[in-house]
């Protein structure tokens, strides 16, 4: 009698059933093919959510397990090596597997990599010991066959006491047999040698070191015995191929060079290749806005639609090309196995600044844009390392800061060279980038020593054999990431866009139309009043209330300061070259007493402010999403603002003291 159907109350005598859907959990080592199997079983019927309160994602999907039954609910757990969890990911997986979580599984499918039996069987053994209904899915079976690994499936199954089903997910082999095995799963046969440890597994996880260690050693001894009984030795050809590739990829000199080239490729794609589709999207949305303006009567509603909603949505969608490109590369690098090598090469450097080797790629990506960079930190397993990386990602000068740097340089540092060769402007930009990195390193060390302090987890990391990435998996990952971004981050960004539009649009300027209308509107709006309000506070930084308005509105998106300043300083609405006329305006802006408002020192102070402050609601939204709480994004905005203020203050006042004006 099938235990699983019995438990779920399905009346097996009738074929028309109104049964509750089964719940099946998939567990297994990382890199064992769990995701491929999950994708093959669920197709596109997947969804992603966060486990409550933590940053770990849960993936569930529908598995059409049988024609007669409703689709089973398939839950994909984070990969784990053992039930003795060391990371949050593993703890969550462990709790669910031990039935402590809210979800009671009807069956557990343990994914075991056929080319890596010894270690994979460790988790399988622990799970079998728990006495729950288990089926072993033997993945990578085609690779095993190809490297002439002969596994006696029946003997293995008898030795373990559970059904063992070979599968090749990407060729869809073995899936029906797996469904059949799950539907017919019983409880593990009473197999004495596997009752290795006394007491339940729950007791074990609290047990002391000694007990756990002896259990561990006993299990491995059992595994060695089982494997030598059921497996004929392989020639390990696939492994040798990987080792040969590694001779170049992790070579002392070539390794870093290759890594540099790969990173340049990723960077280049986010920086420039994405700009074409991004411009396309921007044009589509501004075209849409023009359409609305043409067909709707002028007024509040039309403005809300064009400047608030369409601009807001357009701003969100504009990120998609960068996110898709970055995640395309990340999926390819991760699935092929290269990512682990990159972490291997960078770990020593990253560790010197308190970060994990896997922080390298996300931080580098943040030089183009922090939004996909923050999303990329999910490859860092340790939650505290991950949050530390997220907190400093915005210091990597993103592409949105460049217009600001360019404006200031054009206004006050144009045409000068350093040592007669390099332009001063290029040197300044390089200095800003380097300053950002230095600040990031310092902040990371402080964070890791204080609020993110945690005992360093063991680094030990698997270097999986190189594999050709599966296009279906990559495609699915892209689809998931973009949907997540649009749904979660998108809603926050849109709300803040509308809010900021309202701040600049109200109270309405009733008086005149004409070229100075927008300037007057902005001056008298809530944002304008706020600018005047904060003027005393920003005066020590060298800013006046007009810059204040710019600061307030640019908290949503940095680049908007260019257009805000243009409006506030009354640079003509129709000027195509806003920057150059703005440059002239800034140079000539004078106070009532004739002294210039804008000086090179003011410019530098503003650049430093923009370097350090978090002025990007998209980043805030994505940090909220990835950390699953408002605590961290608020902290991030707060500490970065404080840092920016102090740095600007020191720069401006210090500069004055030193005699610069």
């Amino acid at each position: 009698m099938s235990a699983i159907l019995e438990m779920s109350g399905i009346d097996q005598s009738s074929s028309a059933v109104a049964a509750r859907p089964l719940t099946v959990i998939i567990a297994g080592n990382p890199n064992a093919g769990k995701t491929s199997l999950f994708n093959a079983l669920t197709g596109l019927r997947q969804k992603v959510a966060n486990y409550p309160g933590v940053t770990v994602e849960s993936k569930s999907g529908e598995w059409a397990i049988s024609d007669d039954l409703p689709a089973a609910r398939l839950i994909d757990l984070p990969g784990l090596y053992s039930l003795d969890a060391t990371s949050l990911d593993e703890e969550i997986a462990r709790d669910l597997l031990l039935d402590r979580g809210r979800m009671k599984a009807d069956a557990i499918v343990v994914v075991v990599d056929a080319t890596n039996l010894v270690r994979n069987l460790y988790l399988a053994l622990q799970l079998i010991e728990t006495g729950q209904p288990i089926v072993v899915a033997l993945t990578m079976y085609d690779l095993a066959e190809r490297s002439k690994l002969k596994i006696d499936i029946e003997r293995l199954s008898a030795a373990l006491g559970v059904a063992v089903v070979p599968v090749v997910a990407k060729q869809r082999r073995g899936l029906l047999e797996l469904a059949h095995a799950v539907l017919n799963v019983g409880f593990p046969q009473e197999f004495q040698p596997l009752r290795l440890v006394s007491g339940s597994v729950q007791d074990q996880t609290q047990a002391d070191h000694h007990t756990r260690q002896s259990a561990l050693i006993k299990r491995y001894a059992t595994i060695e015995r089982i494997v030598s009984d059921t497996v004929e030795t392989s020639d390990g050809s696939r492994k040798n191929l990987s080792e040969r590739i590694d001779r170049i990829v992790t070579h002392k000199l070539l390794g870093p060079v290759i890594l540099l080239l790969v990173m340049l490729l990723v960077f280049q794609s986010i920086f420039s290749w994405a700009s074409l589709p991004m411009n396309l999207i921007a044009n589509v949305f501004s075209g849409l806005a023009d359409l609305v303006r043409a067909y709707l009567p002028a007024g509040i509603f039309s403005d809300l639609l064009t400047d608030g909603i369409i601009a807001g949505v357009g701003g969100v969608v504009a990120f998609l090309p960068q996110i898709l490109l970055l995640f395309l590369f990340i999926s390819l690098l991760e699935d092929s196995g290269y990512m682990a090598r990159a972490a291997f090469l960078m770990d020593r450097l990253m560790r010197a600044v308190g970060l994990h080797g896997r922080a390298f790629v996300p931080l580098l990506s943040s030089f183009a844009c922090a939004v996909p960079g923050v999303m990329a930190t999910r490859t860092i397993e340790n939650p505290k390392d991950r949050i530390a990386t997220i907190m400093i990602a915005p210091f990597m000068s993103c592409s949105a800061r460049l217009p600001v740097y360019t404006l200031i340089i054009a206004a006050f540092f144009a045409g000068r060279t350093v040592l007669g060769i390099v332009s001063l402007g290029a040197v300044i930009i390089l200095a800003m980038y380097l300053l950002g990195i230095v600040v990031a390193i310092i902040v990371a060390s402080i964070l890791k020593r204080t609020i993110l302090k945690a005992p360093a987890p063991p680094f030990v990391m698997e270097l999986p054999p190189y594999r050709l990435p599966n296009p279906a998996n990559v495609g699915r990952a892209l689809l998931t990431r973009s949907t997540v971004f649009l749904k979660r981050a998108g809603t926050v960004i849109l709300s803040i866009s509308i809010l900021l539009w309202a701040l600049t649009a109200f109270p309405r300027n009733q008086t005149n139309q004409g070229s100075s209308a927008s300037a007057t509107q902005i001056e008298n709006s809530f944002a304008g009043r706020a600018g005047r309000l904060i003027e005393p506070v920003i005066k020590p930084l060298g800013f006046d209330w007009k810059i204040g308005i710019g600061l307030i509105s640019s908290f949503a998106a940095r680049e908007t300061i260019i257009s805000t300043l243009s409006i506030v300083y009354n640079v003509g609405d129709n000027s195509d070259d806003k920057t150059s006329s703005l440059v002239d305006t800034l140079r000539n802006a004078k106070r009532a007493d004739g002294t210039p408002i804008w000086t090179p020192l003011t410019g530098v102070s503003l650049m430093i402010f923009f370097l350090l402050a978090c002025q990007c609601m998209s980043t805030v939204a994505i940090v909220r999403r990835e950390t699953n709480s408002w605590r961290w994004p608020i902290f991030m905005v707060g500490y970065m603002l404080a840092l920016a203020y102090v740095a600007s203050l020191v720069t401006f006042q210090g500069g004055r003291l030193l005699g610069f004006s």
């Binding site: 590694d246 000199l253 291997f344 770990d347």
Partner: protein
């Protein structure tokens, strides 16, 4: 001898693992158990971490962690 000090490409076998802390258990769970055949493949460009081959798969670990693993050389 410990795993961080043996030469590359020499076959060895793990004799014991210092497991006074959770790190040791973790290393063992990943397959670095007494009795397992092990071989140091290479070190990262800056000398740390090292790549080892155990039970026919590859792991990277820091030298400090490798110091907890005692091995005997087989030849």
């Amino acid at each position: 001898m410990t795993l961080d000090s043996i030469p590359h490409d020499i076959r060895a076998r793990i004799s014991s693992v210092d497991s006074r802390n959770a790190h040791g258990l973790r290393l063992m769970e990943m397959g670095l158990v007494p009795g397992a055949p092990v071989r140091v493949v290479k070190a990262a460009p800056l000398g740390d971490p090292i790549q080892v081959c155990v039970h026919n798969y590859h792991l990277a670990l820091r030298r400090a962690e490798a110091r907890s693993i005692h091995v005997t050389i087989e030849g």
